[in-house]
């Protein structure tokens, strides 16, 4: 009953999105504002409708309705209620619905804004948003129905969208349960964050397409979507970091990022999105790179769809891939359609997207921003090549060649290093013109500071050249950023008579995007410390220990104490938990207890590491193997991951930075005007 209701509402929503598309086009063509308004209201309706659908699905999930195939596949009686709810995005059909639901929320939010000044964009924004939504809802309606139910017919039990003739409903006693890997808190928030990032990039894309179609190709669309882009970027970035944290805690290989195709698929829109975030500033301030920005947002949108497609179609195998499904070809067709039509539009409008000004200096800020964009695109090309290369090599040489993490690491690390270098220089250069002399005068102090830091690290911490270059760049960027901050605050302190803290506060408040951006730069550097640490200094060992025996790694010694095994029947889990005493240079630090949890319903193991985490390093112990027959011994895998905590610390600061940059300002237009004026001051000051 509830399942039929949910499916019915889903079908209605699908029709509503289609109506919205046609009404918007018709209303625009025939110049009937009422039609466009009707389309707008139809789009507004999608969110409540999908919320109803989602409510129906959640009801079924919570109440153990195993006659519904999706509920059967992702939940079981032993799961707690919150996991039953989050199982919503634990499987293919549900996560598609989740995607549509988030998309509709964003689309509704957009429709609620004041459109007075931008009426001509409205129909086309509706068209793009609703076509995207119709596609995703259509997937659910026709191929991946989360409400399909099991029916017993003469041919046996199968799932159907509607009750077939001569059949009775079939209800299994219990469900299969959610994959234990997906029961981790990180996994509960990771997909929603990533999806939020994905869907919110649809909004700037919708405006870009609207600008291309209407021919209003000034920077209006960019100003309108600036904050959307920042929020999209926030969610996407945070989703990626959470995914890394999840991998670190759950996958049990002592790492956070494995260059898995699906990770790359989520990383690629982040790369173009980050490039876009920077290059729109050049268009706003200098009226340049208009064509480029269009290309970037189109790429981002299609990479978002491509990313969703890769995880769902089974084109690539990976830890993330959902079961094989018929929806692959449709995703492919949709990507082809949007990419080809967007490129056609951009070619059509190419002439009117010409820059208003010319690049005057290779050291100007816009030139450095352009370089930053090229670097992001190079990383994108590396990633894309790695994903697509196996297909190409198979096509041309008959031999399949897969590239592993070493390829990505070697190819991207110089690019990342150059990006860090730019992060150090760019904030000091001025818009319009900059010379070696002006730049040199600004940068010599931070360079001296960075050299000192590197020398100290060389003497006390490491002699590895790669790591030292990394740390030098980290120090440079941090010093430059703090120096910039301090210069601004100091100037304010003198001119406004504020004390230094108030000056800092007001400085940030006056140009949130800039100073929020600086905080993001610093946070990136903290994350870089963690990445350099784990990439260059990670050590690992593996050993089978009898009780009371000791294994050592770096300056840690671990003594195997005991192991216990017990069943937790209500939650259907069998725990195997080993206890080790940890010593550092002979000093007792405490105990670690790595576990293997065996889930009866899904017949899968989950490896829970024992972790001891400090800012200096993480001690990370996995229980690899333990046989009851040989209870005397257990096999452990032990990692020391230096500095990895800086990665998580950096990501928290990162969050703060984006929120500062993206927080809504009341007088947006006036602030933009003031920013314009300031740029002129800066340019003349840099002379």
């Amino acid at each position: 009953m509830i399942a039929n209701f949910g499916y019915g509402v889903l079908v209605i929503t699908f029709l509503v999105t289609l109506y919205s598309v046609f009404a918007a086009i018709y209303g625009d063509r025939r110049q009937i504002p009422a039609m466009v308004e009707s389309a707008r209201r139809a789009m507004l309706l999608t969110w409540p409708l999908l919320t109803l659908t989602a409510g129906a699905l959640i009801y079924l999930l919570i109440n153990d309705h195993y006659e519904v195939q999706f509920v059967y596949e992702v939940t079981s009686r032993s799961m707690p209620t919150y996991l039953k709810i989050t199982a919503w995005w634990g499987g293919q059909a549900g996560s598609l619905l989740f995607w549509s639901w988030l998309m509709s929320a964003f689309a509704s939010l957009v429709t609620l804004r004041k459109w007075d000044r931008d009426r001509e964009f409205l129909p086309w924004v509706i068209v793009v948003a609703c076509v995207t939504m119709a596609f995703f809802i259509g997937m659910n309606v026709f191929f991946e129905n989360p409400f399909a139910q099991f029916y017993q017919t003469f041919d046996g039990v199968k799932s159907y969208n509607l009750k077939p003739a001569n059949s009775i409903l079939f209800t299994p006693e219990n469900g299969q349960g959610l994959n234990p890997l997906l029961r981790h808190p990180g996994m509960i928030i990771h997909p929603p964050m990533l999806y939020l990032g994905f869907v919110s990039f649809v909004i700037p894309y919708a405006f870009a397409i609207a600008a291309l179609i209407t021919g209003r190709t000034d920077d209006r669309w960019i100003r309108l979507t600036r904050r959307w882009t920042l929020w999209a970027w926030l969610f996407l970035s945070f989703g990626l970091v959470l995914g890394g944290r999840w991998a670190y805690d759950v996958l049990g290989w002592g790492g956070y990022w494995g260059w898995d195709p699906v990770e790359i698929a989520a990383f690629m829109p982040w790369l173009t999105g980050t490039a876009f975030l920077h290059s729109v500033m050049i268009q706003e301030k200098r009226g340049m790179l208009k064509q480029w920005n269009m290309i970037l947002i189109i790429l981002t949108y299609d990479l978002v769809i491509f990313g969703t497609f890769l995880t769902r179609s089974g084109v690539l195998s990976s830890v993330h891939a959902f079961a094989q499904s018929a929806i692959g070809p449709l995703f492919f067709a949709f990507i082809g359609f949007t990419l080809i039509s967007s490129i056609a539009l951009i070619i059509y409008r190419w002439g009117s997207l010409k820059s208003e000004t010319e690049m005057t200096s290779l050291l100007s800020r816009e030139a450095l921003f352009l370089l930053n964009n090229l670097l992001f695109m190079s990383i994108l090309v590396v990633c894309f090549w790695g994903v697509i290369f196996p297909l190409i090599s198979e096509l041309f040489s008959g031999q399949k060649v897969t590239v592993g993490p070493p390829f990505y690491e070697r190819a991207t690390s110089p690019l990342f290093a150059t990006l860090m270098m730019l992060m150090g220089i760019a904030p000091l250069s001025a818009w319009g013109r900059s010379t070696v002399k002006t730049l040199g005068r600004a940068i010599w102090k931070p360079i001296v500071g960075a050299v000192v830091v590197t020398a100290v690290l060389f003497a006390t911490y490491t002699q590895k050249i790669g790591a030292l270059i990394g740390f030098f760049l980290v120090a440079l960027v941090i010093f430059v950023t703090i120096y910039e901050y301090w210069r601004g605050a100091y100037a304010r302190q003198r001119s406004q008579g504020e004390n230094i803290f108030t000056a800092f506060w007001n400085l940030t408040g006056r140009d949130r995007r800039r100073y929020g951006g600086y905080i993001i730069h610093i946070s990136m550097m903290l994350m870089a410390i963690g990445i350099i640490g784990i990439e260059t200094f990670q050590v690992e060992t593996q050993g089978t220990l009898g009780q009371g025996e000791t294994i050592s790694l770096r300056n840690y010694e671990l003594t195997y104490r005991e192991i216990a095994q017990w069943d937790d029947l209500p939650s259907g889990v069998n725990y195997r938990r080993a206890v080790l005493d940890v010593y550092e240079d002979g000093e007792y630090l405490g105990q670690l207890a790595p576990r293997i949890d065996y889930y009866y319903d899904s017949q899968q193991n989950m490896t829970i590491p024992g972790q001891r985490s400090t800012m200096r390093d993480d001690l990370y112990v996995l229980l690899v193997d333990w046989e009851p027959a040989t209870a005397a011994g257990a096999t452990f895998k032990i990692y020391v991951n230096p500095l990895v905590n800086w990665l998580w610390l950096g990501s928290l600061l990162f969050l703060a930075g984006i929120i500062i940059a993206a927080w809504p300002e009341k007088e947006r237009e006036r602030a933009a005007f003031k920013a314009e004026a300031r740029v002129q001051q800066q340019t003349s000051a840099a002379d």
Binding site: T214, S317, Q324, R349, G398, K400, G404, P405, T607
Partner: protein, 190 residues
């Protein structure tokens, strides 16, 4: 359409550039389509008889002193083929379990484990084999011929073939427990 731009665009994209863009785009889509078709095909399905193939073996990992395996010579044994690579992190998850299973079944003489090293270099592969104490026959999947025959989607993947040479079970991704491996082999031994 509400066209507010200047009527005559200053300069559009030259024809040759347009041609390049479209050729590139169509080519790209064609390649993805190809990959998609392969993926839709899936791996070799259980129930299919496996044709003969040759797996050369790394020295130190030979079978009865022979440095090469002909699959057809293995009739009468349950064959477990594991595709792996030294760069593959998920493979490490199951390495200990596979080796453990091998030490259990080797004495019976009815089961043979084979490791097919996929897109790898020998020195790195040797480090990996040594690290996990692997002892069953292992060798490189030269020119990815075997993996293409099985149409594997990635590593690790494991194929269970019965005594008549018919594929019975495919494991995609790593095993998470020794019990999983045992269960498959035991049904084939019955």
């Amino acid at each position: 359409m509400t066209d507010t731009s200047p009527p005559a665009p200053r300069r559009g994209v030259p024809l040759w550039a347009q041609i390049i863009i479209w050729v590139f785009l169509v080519g790209l889509l064609a390649i993805v389509a190809l990959g998609l078709r392969r993926a839709q095909q899936g791996t070799v399905q259980p129930g299919q008889a496996i044709d003969n193939f040759t797996l050369p073996l790394y020295s130190g990992y030979e079978l009865d002193g022979k440095s090469e395996i002909q699959f057809d010579d293995l009739r009468g044994k349950v064959v477990v083929i594991n595709f792996w690579a030294s760069w593959c992190k998920p493979c490490e998850q199951e390495a200990a379990e596979l080796q453990q299973a091998w030490t259990e079944y080797e004495p019976t003489g009815e089961v043979l484990f084979l490791g097919a090293d996929y897109v790898d270099t020998e020195p790195e592969a040797r480090v990996y084999l040594k690290k996990f104490g692997v002892t069953y026959p292992n060798g490189p999947d030269l020119a990815t011929r075997i993996s293409q025959y099985f149409r594997i989607k990635g590593v690790p993947e494991t194929y269970f073939i019965d005594k008549e040479g018919v594929l019975q079970y495919v494991q995609i991704g790593p095993f998470t427990s020794l019990e999983q491996i045992r269960a498959q082999i035991d049904t084939l031994l019955e």
